[in-house]
Symmetry: C2
Subunit: 317 residues, 2 copies
């Protein structure tokens, strides 16, 4: 079992509405075994739990059943924190599901640490990805929603209730469209995939098979004017929110992941243009905006870091 030079294997978990993924991560942050399953579309909380437990057992076996030193988990929010009774927006079967407690029962004696899935992406990118070597990093996930996590002064910021990093609810259009959060004009209301799709359809975009942000991005790349305008709209909103965030937090790097972040200049060009128009002070001009670099494993590597680099990323309990 080739564990990294630092020793200590961690079971990492990433739970979303579409899929549940798991990995064994070694002390150096390398993924040594990985698998995933579709999140069961079932109203029974225990059906999901058994699917998760089966996945975790398989991944540990695939890794050669190493001695584990802990379990790190990223899960869709909201949740109580750090107790991690989770109620993920896109997993209706889990409402107040005691995820941390259940994992503790299943892995007695091991520390179990759960954080928001987008927070884990930010941690993974800070620890081993696009934000490595910087002390002030905002990690973002632009997908069905817009999530994030914040590392400042070299440490993960939890905030009053573990909810720091909700960059999707920075307001970019005060009288803009209603947001799922109950507010209005949040970044997420504009830049989330379904929001972009709805806007584009209102402007006359006729999607093909899949009515998703990724399809919209593909149409934009293929030259569809309305789809391209939708990407500009998302890019501008992201640029505004990042300008506000870097003025408040004096960031080194913003790392953007999620489906829409893969669309390249269609998203990043308008983002940069808007950001640079607003971030004009010496310090804020320096912020770099880059795609995440760990791909699908960002969140798993970040979840592992809750155990492996707890001095920087875990301040609870």
């Amino acid at each position: 079992m080739p564990l990294g030079p630092l020793g200590g294997a961690v079971l990492a978990v990433d739970i979303g509405g579409t899929k549940m993924a798991s990995a064994v991560v070694d002390g150096a942050g390398e993924v040594v075994a990985y698998d995933r399953v579709a999140t069961p579309d079932d109203p029974d909380a225990e059906v999901l739990w058994r699917a998760l437990d089966g996945l975790l057992g398989k991944v540990v076996a695939d890794a050669g059943a190493p001695a584990l030193i802990g379990v790190g988990v990223g899960c869709g929010g909201p949740m109580t924190w750090p107790a991690a009774e989770v109620s993920p927006l896109n997993i209706h079967a889990w409402r107040g599901f005691p995820l941390r407690e259940r994992l503790r029962e299943r892995h007695p004696g091991l520390p179990v640490r759960v954080h928001n899935d987008a927070v884990c992406v930010a941690v993974g990118e800070h620890w081993r990805g696009a934000g490595r070597g910087y002390d002030n990093v905002l990690g973002m996930v632009v997908s069905t929603g817009v999530g994030g996590g914040l590392v400042l002064n070299g440490r993960l910021i939890d905030g009053a209730s573990g909810n720091a990093g909700h960059v999707g609810h920075v307001i970019v259009e005060p009288d803009g469209p209603p947001c799922g959060c109950g507010g209005r004009g949040c970044l997420e209301a504009i830049a989330r995939g379904p929001g972009l799709v709805a806007w584009a359809q209102g402007e006359g975009w006729r999607p093909g098979e899949a009515v998703t942000g990724v399809e919209l991005a593909e149409d934009a790349r293929a030259g569809d004017a309305v789809a391209a305008a939708a990407m500009r709209r998302a890019g501008r909103a992201l640029g505004l929110a990042i300008a506000s965030a870097t003025h408040l937090c004096d960031l080194d790097v913003v790392a953007i992941g999620g489906g829409l972040s893969q669309t390249g200049p269609l998203l990043f060009d308008p983002l940069e243009k808007e950001l640079r128009a607003h971030a004009r002070m010496d310090f804020s001009r320096d912020v770099k905006v880059v795609p995440t670099s760990l791909g699908q494993t960002s969140g798993l590597v970040g979840a592992a870091a809750l155990i492996l680099a707890a001095d920087r990323y875990w301040h609870a309990d």
Copy 2:
């Protein structure tokens, strides 16, 4: 010389465009001597330095010439940090003035620590004022400009270049008025005293003797409709920026100081209304917005904390 139970006297300094203030602060954060002078309106950097040095000498003498353990300073920005070559916007005689170095020469062997003046207000309010007992506090100063400082996870956030806390440049009106920073629609462009005055004059407000935000606030209190509308405009902008800030940072408390913060419900009512309309998630609903509680000494107490509580407030050198 009645120094506090924790021992250790600090020379605290607060340098602004209008006045320079200084205090000797004991180990418990109590001000044991205080004085101030008008900032000389003189183009010679050394004239300012001599005025400052004279003030400091007087305050130390007034305190009974205690043994000092350090010098903490809040100064208007911008500055290089932590080297503190300062170029305060409102002190034209100092451009790249080596404030830290000069104070070190004058107080050999003592640590000298300089931070932005609004950051020191935030630190003071967190250490001994309205944010005491909370781990996540945004301190703001609403005056000629709009400044701030950020304490998260119980520690002062410096950011990449010591500039974290610039809440005045959170964007609240993307296509709004130009801001002194070179951007547009920043909170400061709308809510700073002179911005409010200019807006009110454009709407027909006829000021009396002093054309200032404080006069405007007094007229609003006296029933002037345009002046009241200007205060609502500022309050709404503050509410929006605070909503964005608490979504990003999951704050416990926002403490607002500076001249305009003394206007009570005229400012705080529209602020609360806008904030609560936008901050609708469970975690963001809980944020409290209060006036600062240390009055004129917030910044001095915060400057002292750079020495006296360095584990939380000083991460440089």
